[in-house]
């Protein structure tokens, strides 16, 4: 159940493109044709599925506060989490290179379809974003990490294929000249993001997102009330000084 929930949440509610704007650069650059979009999307799923669990292991056994305890009790005091950016990106860059070499060796046909996209992926924010969100959301087991990687990859895949299909069609529409190309793509993506927001109600019974949102609202109203109190205090003080 936990797995299923994370799976759908990562694909639809926390969709990488529409909710967090990750991987927008390649999303805009490679979405002119459906066929290339499919290739790029598949490559992203693949790389996310490999790097998220790998970075989960790194985070769990090297980076977290006290994660080095398995080396011996004297190492338990170290907190290396400030190194996570550099380690994550190094893992991603090397994994992408490795994947490229392995795929080229064992499956030339797959290499031909994914090949040109693989180098692009090392600097795709969706990949690093996947690892960083995995870290900040404190995903508990490696199974869930793998699940999260695959599901957010699928979410990204859906997004890029959908926009590519729309862009192919919209070539024949009469868009105002200054909006053609990039401008209209931005606006369509915005509209699609609004559409995806409606998935937000899907897991309300147990979704953490809703809770977080209500928490945020609570904090905000609290802050507002505090400010009000402070301002009334100031007014009172000024009245007193006038008297």
């Amino acid at each position: 159940m936990e797995h299923l929930e994370l799976f759908f949440k990562s694909i639809f509610i926390d969709n990488m493109v529409f909710a967090t704007f990750l991987g927008m650069c390649s999303y805009l650059a490679v979405s002119k044709k459906v066929s290339t979009a499919v290739g790029m999307g598949a490559a992203v799923i693949f790389v996310l599925a490999v790097t998220v669990p790998l970075n989960w292991l790194l985070d769990q056994y090297i980076l977290q506060d006290g994660a080095l305890a398995w080396l011996g009790p004297e190492y338990a005091q170290y907190d290396l989490s400030f190194l996570s950016f550099i380690l994550f990106i190094a893992t991603i860059a090397t994994m992408v290179q490795l994947v490229e070499i392995v795929v080229e060796k064992f499956s030339p046909s797959l290499y031909n379809s994914l090949g040109i996209f693989l180098p692009l992926i090392a600097v795709n924010c969706a990949i690093l974003g996947g690892s960083l969100f995995m870290q900040s959301r404190e995903i508990e087991t490696i199974g869930l990490a793998l699940n999260y990687g695959v599901a957010s990859g699928i979410g990204w895949f859906l997004a890029i294929v959908a926009i590519a299909a729309i862009r192919e069609k919209i070539r024949y529409s009469n868009v105002p000249a200054p909006l053609r190309g990039l401008g209209i793509t931005f606006i369509i993506t915005g509209l699609m993001a609004i559409g995806f927001m409606s998935f937000g109600g899907m897991l309300t019974s147990s979704g953490n997102k809703e809770e977080a949102d209500t928490e945020n609202v609570g904090v905000k109203t609290e802050m507002l009330q505090q400010e009000k109190i402070e301002s009334t205090q100031i007014v009172e003080v000024s009245k007193i000084t006038k008297q």
Binding site: F18, A19, T20, F21, L22, G23, M24, C25, L28, A29, F82, L83, S84, F85, I86, I89, A90, A93, T94, Q97, P119, A122, V123, N124, C125, I127, L128, G129, L132, F133, S136, P176, A177, P178, L179, R180, G181, L182, G183, I184, T185, F186, I187, T189, G190, L191, A193, I194, M197, L224, K228
Partner: protein
């Protein structure tokens, strides 16, 4: 500009308008959109990117002759990652609340395509001073869009600018709220950032018709 020659000034001014990294080069959009719900966060993000891009361009430019071209991407990533760690630690030390709002997006400066894009396109082929100017110019162009988007989203979404209530108090019904104005909460949601950038592109390309695609 007494300090800068005409060519150098062009390096800074070009990316502000006609070669803007976000609206024309289509670089660095990922981080630009997610954090623009508040003006303050946009400004901090712009300054962070300026630091990373300026310094990174200099470092890469200094090393341009000794980096083997096969592993240059990894070298570039390590340089950026080191600079971003500095930014992240500084933010955590001096602006903890803000670093919570920016959350993973500080880390995502590493994969901000502006940075890799400028390294590849400029710093690898130019001298350090020119690369530095190019970095600052592009970061300014990026920051400009961020600040425009952040300005509109915060003003229309929460009626504040940098946290100051410029439109009056929505609870006590002062200022414009007294005549029935309401905040448009929709502006705070992420899709509006995309639509605002789309509109900026529209305005920019109507003013300069040479930029129109197709």
């Amino acid at each position: 500009m007494g300090l800068l020659s005409k060519k150098d000034a062009k390096l800074i001014m070009d990316p502000l308008l006609d070669n803007n990294p976000i609206t024309i080069q289509v670089l660095g959009i990922c981080s630009a959109l997610a954090i623009t719900a508040e003006l303050k966060a946009s400004i901090v993000m712009a300054v962070s990117v300026m630091f990373v891009l300026g310094m990174g361009n200099v470092v890469i430019s200094l090393m341009r002759n000794i980096i083997p071209s096969k592993i240059r991407i990894i070298v570039q990533l390590v340089v950026v990652a080191a600079l971003v760690i500095i930014v992240d630690l500084v933010l955590k030390a001096f602006a903890y609340e803000l670093s919570k709002t920016l959350s993973v997006f500080v880390g995502l400066i590493i994969t901000n395509c502006i940075i890799m894009g400028r390294f590849e396109a400029f710093a690898l082929a130019n001298k350090p001073w020119r690369s530095f100017l190019d970095g600052i110019g592009n970061a300014l162009g990026y920051g400009l869009i961020l600040i425009i988007v952040g300005f509109f989203r915060e003003l229309l979404g929460s009626g504040t600018l940098l946290g100051f209530k410029v439109l009056g108090d929505p609870i006590e019904k002062t200022g414009v709220y007294s005549i029935g104005y309401e905040n448009n909460g929709f502006m705070l949601l992420s899709p509006m950032a995309l639509i605002i950038v789309g509109l900026i592109i529209w305005v920019q390309r109507s003013r300069n018709t040479t930029l129109i695609e197709d």
